[in-house]
């Protein structure tokens, strides 16, 4: 009898630890720091060894597209943060609106990236191409790093888009609501990390002239 009563009590008690959930997300973000950090180390060493080549190679990149993409990503970070405040203020539709805008801005970022990459590839600049292999080793390294680092970052943007789309669905269904929104917060943390990585990628690849 006492066991049944105990089980009933356990059922009615909601097991939730939002602080622990956010801490878990932060721990995951630290592993991302190590993943991208290793690549930034590679970049630092190769740039130090091939300073001239890096400057010449960076001139190939379009600063305007890079700046525009930075603005898109920063704005998408804003709308993501706003969506959390909206759900906290019990304004579900506004939160969904901000989440959808975030996804659209991310899509815009990826569309730009697509055009940027395809134009590079049309000019014969891609890993292993004859045109690139004819250049100095520093330029080959620059574009190798460019494709790997912006590629991995782009993959993160894609994953973030899917993640936020799932959150939008959960918000619509009421799973994410004003009293329980830690999932949305975790997705937000991921999205802001993707933003921070771009904050460093942008000057390191597009702004060395």
């Amino acid at each position: 009898m006492s066991i049944i009563a105990h089980e009933h009590a356990a059922e009615s008690h909601v097991h939730r630890d939002d602080v622990g959930s956010r801490m878990g997300m932060w721990l995951f973000l630290f592993t991302e720091l190590i993943l991208f950090g290793g690549m930034f180390f590679l970049y630092a060493v190769y740039r130090f060894m091939h300073q001239e080549d890096f400057h010449v190679a960076a001139k190939e990149l379009n600063t305007i597209i890079g700046t525009f993409n930075t603005a898109l990503l920063l704005t998408s970070s804003l709308t993501m943060a706003l969506s959390i405040t909206a759900i906290q203020k019990r304004n579900r539709n506004l939160s969904i609106f901000f989440q959808v805008i975030t996804i659209i801005l991310a899509l815009g970022f990826m569309v730009n990236k697509y055009f940027e990459w395809t134009s590079k590839i049309h000019h014969g600049i891609f890993p292993g191409s004859e045109e690139l292999l004819a250049q100095n080793s520093g330029q080959i390294l620059f574009f190798g790093l460019y494709y790997v680092m912006t590629g991995l970052h782009g993959l993160h943007v894609l994953i973030g888009m899917v993640l936020i789309a799932v959150m939008t669905r959960l918000t619509k269904r009421g799973v994410i609501n004003a009293d329980s929104y830690v999932k949305l917060e975790a997705a937000g943390l991921y999205w802001h990390l993707v933003d921070i990585i771009w904050i460093f990628l942008f000057p390191l690849f597009y702004l060395i002239t």
Partner: protein, 98 residues
């Protein structure tokens, strides 16, 4: 404060502070692009990284809620960055003979 309240404690930023931070981030992006054309020699990369660090601080403290999060989160992030910094210093002690 009861145990339950602690779990669901509201930590909210207003809409306006986010918009202010966003404006600051956009202005800093403009500055970093404008400054990139000027040649400060070895300080060019330092300037770019400094601006990027300021932007990162803004995103971490406001967008990622570190300012209103429990203290342990700030300690965690600080330690993570400290080790990252140590790695960079060790790396360059090898490559540039600082």
């Amino acid at each position: 404060m009861s145990k339950l309240e602690e779990h669901t404690e509201q930590h909210t930023h207003s809409y306006s502070i986010y918009i202010l931070v966003w404006l600051a981030l956009m202005i800093l992006t403009g500055v970093t692009v404008a400054v990139a054309g000027i040649n400060f020699g070895t300080f060019t990369i330092a300037t770019a990284l400094l601006i990027a660090s300021v932007k990162t601080y803004l995103v971490l403290s406001i967008f990622m809620h570190l300012r209103i999060e429990q203290r342990v989160f700030r300690v965690f992030v600080f330690v993570a960055f400290l080790f990252f910094l140590i790695s960079i210093v060790l790396l360059f002690s090898d490559y540039s003979f600082l």
